[in-house]
Amino acid sequence: MNEADAALVTGAIKKYYLDHHDMVPTPDKISRREFGYQVGGGSMVRHLSYADERALRVMLVGTAPSDVYCSNACYRFPTFAMKEKSWLDASLIFDIDAKDLGLPCRVGHSILVCAECARVSPAAAGKCAACQSQKVTVRSLPCTKCAAASLKEVAKLREILVDDLGMDDSSIHVYFSGNEGFHVHVDPGSFDALGSRERAELADYIMFKGAIPEAYGVPRAPGAKLGLPGPDDPGWRGRLVRSLGAAPAKKAARAGHAEFQKTLGSAGIGARIDPQVTTDIHRIFRMPGSINGKSGLAKVPVPDGSKFDAYTESCLIDSAKVDITAECPHRFVLGGRRFGPYSAKDTSVELYAAVYMICKGFAAAR
């Protein structure tokens, strides 16, 4: 990103934080949190602390960071080096990323930005179409299918959190990350004191990972009596039978312990969270309401139950027209408008779209 690009993006972000200061809720126990940020997508500044809401606002407007993060953990000394922070607790967080879902639509909305010549090629090309370089970065364009599939995982996660882990539905807060993923924040509760290893157990549970046939009524000894769960059984027991169907479940169980183990492994019923995010108890996590520097879109709450258009709701940067040069082989929809394809041409677009394309690396300010 050159100077003109950076000025355009930083200016837009500064205006966003001036106009939308109510979008970024102040974390509770703010003085116990570690903050961090990047400016212009540059290196991360960490171990920061803000005494109150005002101090946080001053930083947001004054620095206009491309990305701003806050720990889900509380520390006695949030600004100290990690090992001296004195960790107190951390609320649960989950990350569901469309990238990890292996969807067939991906290739159709991924583009390659060349590290050598900065030109843009479709993902199908496999390398830079202009200079043949292999040094390319994959960037993804908005995709409603990806968003819908991710939200399906969010719904699975929510069901497990409420039915199995006993959480109150109102304590679960879902956000669109502003780029490709969804973040789930859980209000403080009984899990906050758990360490990383304990959280890994929770993550495995949520992903339905590590299940053994014995626990689902299929003993190791051949010919031993089966005790398959019923469809109304709580937790994974019931969910497994409902997903397989009673008759196929019985058939799989009769095929023996080893076969049933395979059935468990391929059931695909777990919620596909990123376990590293959940088990990292020292993470700083993108703040709700903040701008995502990978896209210029905001991390916005996803209301439960209603229809949610991620790529409209998160488009909160100004829509004044600006001039850019853009190159993008695919059409995409942002803020309810269509953009592209562009073949390295000068054009004039809404500021939010300009910021989006500059952040993604396929446009430059003019």
Binding site: G166, R197, E201, F208, A211
Partner: protein, 338 residues
């Protein structure tokens, strides 16, 4: 106050309220130590200790369901006296064996009582709550334990059946059988008893105890284990863990895991590591070998790496010194240049 009675005190004589109970019954350590009428209590205390030194679990009329009031008091008092004798004697090897044997004994009562209980607010559930700060509730499907309490204990078990995904989970609780509930907590029972003994202060020698203590000193000499000599190049966390084991104290599972993964990282074999654990209060050769093998990545499983310093800090296993020189893994100790 907690609603425990003579029966609970007899079965779980290490409960907080026992000291008060003994006092309220009109007895004191001085009397047990001097009064010749009370020698039968002292003899019974000695029976308990002797059984433990032989690796046995002391059993009495109480196990067979006799709940006569004088018998119950005899059970309670004999435990209290045994602890005093052990404290005066001061031999870790004996205390360790005693704590282990007594925890096995209590475990039997816990399991038996839980199996009989029905309805919430049972006395056994109260005992568990007092000992482990775990909220156990009876439910028609089993014993309900909050998930966070369950994981705190189970996350360090290596058997896959203990994974949360392999348990009945509903509404924030894990449902366990009485047997499973006791197994979940048994590891801590030994710790609890050992800590209880540690906190008791040793009174001066008393006539009723003198002969017994002389005998115990003899036995302790035979039991005093020989140690594997370990070179000094280990980082302080590992040295500390080795010392804990040497003293015959309990090293938590996270500590054993750290020690084993560290030594595997240094190229030690299962056979070389296993003997280090033989003085642990709950040592069981088969279990130890099994656990070491599964950590080592034998049987085609994934090999576990030694946890990083950050992690060990959160587990209170780090005993950093200047020599650590800012390493991030214990395995880097002494290997870092400049």
């Amino acid at each position: 106050m907690k609603g425990f009675g003579t029966l609970e005190y007899a079965q779980y004589p290490f409960l907080e309220g026992v000291g008060r109970y003994v006092k309220d019954s009109g007895f004191g350590i001085e009397q047990f130590g001097h009064d010749s009428d009370l020698i039968p209590y002292v003899d019974r205390a000695m029976e308990r200790i002797m059984a433990a030194t032989r690796g046995q679990i002391y059993s009495s009329e109480l196990d067979r369901g006799d709940i006569d009031h004088t018998l119950l008091d005899k059970e309670t008092f004999s435990f209290v006296i045994a602890v005093i004798i052990l404290k005066i004697c001061g031999k870790h090897s004996l205390i360790k064996r005693f704590a282990l044997a007594e925890s096995r004994r209590a475990e039997k009562f816990l399991e038996r009582n839980l199996g009989r209980d029905s309805g919430g607010g049972s006395t056994t559930a109260k005992v568990l709550a007092e000992l482990f700060s775990v909220d156990v509730r009876y439910n028609p499907r089993g014993y309900a334990i909050p998930i966070s309490d369950y994981i705190r204990h189970s996350a360090h078990f290596h058997e896959r059946e203990w994974k949360l995904v392999n348990r009945m989970v509903t509404g924030g609780d894990v449902l366990l059988s009485a047997h499973q509930a006791v197994r979940l907590l048994r590891h801590e029972l030994g710790n609890y008893i050992q800590n209880h003994i540690t906190r008791v202060s040793a009174p001066p020698m008393m006539p009723n105890f003198a002969g017994h203590i002389a005998k115990l000193n003899e036995i302790a000499k035979e039991l005093e284990p020989e140690y594997v000599v370990v070179s000094g190049e280990h980082p302080p966390c590992i040295k500390h863990a080795l010392e804990v084991l040497k003293r015959g104290e309990n090293l938590p599972h996270s500590g054993r895991f750290m020690l084993a993964t560290f030594l595997f990282g240094r190229g030690w074999t299962v056979e070389k590591i296993a003997p280090l654990f033989k003085d642990a209060p709950d040592y069981n050769e088969r279990t130890t070998m099994y656990q070491l093998k599964s950590i080592s990545g034998g049987d085609g499983k994934t090999r576990y790496n030694c946890p990083l310093c950050d992690k060990l800090r959160t587990q209170n296993l780090c005993h950093e010194t200047a020599e650590c020189n800012g390493i991030v893994s214990p395995l880097q100790f002494g290997t870092r240049r400049k």
